[in-house]
């Protein structure tokens, strides 16, 4: 017996930034995928040692149990204001918020719009699964028309409950926003594109260009009343209301007033 065993070739492994534990997320939930993407990007850009992350209120508040970074909890919706305070006093830090759609598109609209309006050098990861997952599946501002939730038991009807709010499109028109894009975790090709968006949004902060946001369409199998596979397939319906792609990518800083034409 003289054969030498060849070591197995590693083709995939857990990013070191992710803790080696199972998450509290429901089976099939997209948060796990997004956590991994974020971990990969932070590792590739070697940002973890100077990252200060802001946790939301909602399912993802426990992100600090899975991503080994410095974290602070923000009150519901206030993460962009908290991130502003951090980034202003620690200009060498890398600051990101991780927010759901209830957090960012309902209770925290003022904070996200004004952080974007000021062009704060922060990166917002906006997970849109169209529902309040943690509280049991109520309507979110992003819930689709007709969608059944525990607070729209007969389906969201615009006359009573208003229309879905396209937050990222609204933010993209602000000059302080340097990068705004929408991805999805519906299948591996989309996941790959979403990772590239996250990376670009992180680099925008490093370049000092301005505020960057990536909206990520994700699923909530339990809240949607679907199996994990059904919920992933259903994302194609969600993508019709919230089109994927880069909404704005201003590579140059938009901080100086434009010079008068012909002057």
């Amino acid at each position: 017996m003289t054969a030498v065993a060849t070591p197995p070739r590693v083709i995939a492994s857990r990013p070191e930034l992710l803790t080696d534990r199972s998450t509290h997320y429901c089976p099939g939930c997209g948060h796990g995928i997004i956590h991994r993407l974020l971990a990969e990007v932070l590792e590739e850009l070697e940002l973890a040692p100077r990252t200060i992350a802001v946790a939301p209120v909602g399912c993802a508040v426990f992100a600090y149990d899975y991503l080994q970074l410095d974290w602070v909890e923000a009150p519901h919706g206030r993460a962009p204001a908290v991130a502003t305070g951090i980034r202003r006093v620690r200009p060498d830090s890398f600051v990101l918020t991780y927010q759901g759609d209830g957090d960012l598109a309902a209770i925290g609209t003022a904070e996200i719009i004004h952080a974007a309006g000021r062009g704060e050098l922060i990166t917002a990861i906006f997970v849109n699964n169209g529902i309040y997952g943690m509280t049991g599946g109520q309507m979110a501002p992003t819930t689709l028309l007709g969608q059944h939730t525990t607070s729209t038991p007969t389906g969201r009807e615009a006359g009573a409950a208003g229309f879905p709010i396209p937050m990222t499109e609204m933010l993209a028109i602000l000059p302080g926003v340097t990068y705004a894009a929408r991805g999805s975790v519906s299948d591996p090709p989309h996941i790959g594109k979403t990772k590239a968006m996250i990376k670009r949004a992180c680099k925008a902060q490093l370049d000092g260009a301005g505020f960057a946001i990536v909206e990520i369409l994700s699923n909530c199998p339990v809240g949607w009343g679907m199996t994990a596979v059904e919920s992933m397939e259903h994302l194609s319906e969600v993508e019709k209301v919230y089109p994927l792609g880069v909404l704005v990518d201003r590579s140059a800083p938009a901080r100086q007033p434009a010079a008068a034409e012909g002057a």
């Binding site: 946790a55 909890e73 009150p75 908290v82 502003t84 305070g85 202003r88 890398f94 003022a110 004004h114």
Partner: protein, 373 residues
């Protein structure tokens, strides 16, 4: 606006002229915070504290420090939360309606033990109320401010000079006990101008083993108030409560005047104590032996000291710019040992010294007659 005034050396002084500067309360508080090493200020315009924000808008960028005018008081206090989470020395200021909006983040900071100093230049309430001076936020400040089981130290200056001193104290307490601290002023203290001795204190810096600076070569740190398991949250609350008991033991501050021979004590803080002081002097001229008990920390409340005072044959008159808030804590402190009367005005109206004097005469007559108030 500042102007320098020279005060003639008093007899027995060292002989050197002491330089004093005339400053508006809001501006003096702002400058005291700057001198105390404030790294960042976040605010939102509201009367009667707007000059504080304006002073910071000019001075902080001059010094290369952080100033942000936020989109709301919610924005301001949460920017404060973020900056303070990194270990920075942070000041946030507002007035009554803005303080209501800040209550949410104050609760989070009490829970996650994040130090910050918050100035409330109180105005008349409830609701939009008035922009006149008031002390109607006593309950809000001393009973915790936001939701949940917590207290924060509350410092109540009675002069602009004392406010300057207490700003430095506020930063020290905030960092020593990892807690928000409220400086409770009112519209008069914010708007009036008084000569002050520019003796600003500069509390020394310390390293914090909890501050978020990036997990570089050390384990990650998390500042949180969420503890979903009841056992864990109770354990956390027990830690907080032990800290509150320690603060109550160590940090009570109060001032007394002419209490030694007093038959009656006026209990008042802040601007109300200035009015009570004038009334006390008038009463003494009439032969009514009145002393002044002035809480400087409203929490921790000088409870043992008041109780001791009440053990002597005396009665107390509480004077407030409110419908009667601190008076409840005075009654709890004295536990029925002596009669406690109350006089207050609201809405931006002030009690005059003569009004307070009339109450003192009435109380004096009642006590002499051996009756209850």
């Amino acid at each position: 606006m500042t102007a320098t005034v020279e005060r003639a050396p008093t007899e027995g002084a060292t002989g050197s002229k002491r330089s004093r500067i005339l400053m508006k309360g809001n501006e003096a508080i702002a400058e005291a915070a700057i001198q105390a090493g404030c790294d960042a200020y976040f605010g939102y315009p509201i009367t009667p504290q707007a000059e504080l924000l304006e002073w910071m808008a000019r001075r902080m960028p001059e010094l290369g420090r952080v100033f942000v005018q936020a989109e709301s008081e919610l924005g301001a206090i949460n920017m404060g939360l973020g900056a303070a989470a990194t270990g920075a020395r942070v000041l946030v200021s507002s007035s009554s309606p803005g303080m209501s909006l800040m209550a949410e983040a104050m609760s989070y900071m009490a829970g996650s033990q994040t130090p910050i100093v918050l100035v409330n230049v109180m105005r008349g309430g409830p609701g939009l109320g008035s922009i006149g001076p008031s002390q109607s936020d006593y309950f809000q400040a001393v009973k915790g401010h936001g939701h949940g089981d917590y207290k924060v130290p509350v410092l109540a200056p009675a002069s602009i000079g004392e406010a300057v001193e207490l700003v430095a104290t506020a930063f020290e307490l905030a960092e020593r006990y990892r807690t928000p601290v409220i400086l409770l002023a009112d519209g008069i203290l914010g708007q009036a101008m008084e000569p002050i001795e520019p003796q600003f204190r500069h509390p020394p810096r310390q390293e914090f083993d909890w501050a978020l600076t990036g997990a570089d070569g050390r384990p990650p740190r998390v500042l949180r108030s969420l503890h979903l398991l009841p056992e864990r949250l109770e354990e956390h609350n027990n830690v907080l409560q032990a800290k509150f008991r320690e603060i109550a033991r160590n940090e009570v501050r109060w001032a007394g005047e002419q209490l030694e021979d007093a038959d009656l004590a006026v209990v008042a803080y802040g601007t109300a104590a200035r009015i009570a002081h004038s009334a006390m002097r008038k009463a003494r001229q009439e032969g009514i032996r009145v002393g002044l008990f002035r809480p400087i920390t409203l929490w921790p409340f000088p409870e043992p000291q008041l109780r001791e005072l009440a053990s002597r044959p005396t009665a107390m008159l509480v004077v407030e710019l409110s419908a009667g808030q601190m008076v409840e804590d005075v009654r709890l402190a004295v536990e029925g040992r002596c009669p406690v009367a109350f006089h207050g005005r609201t809405g931006g109206m002030l009690p005059t010294p003569d009004e307070v004097l009339a109450e003192l005469r009435r109380l004096d007559a009642t006590v002499r007659a051996g009756g209850a108030t």
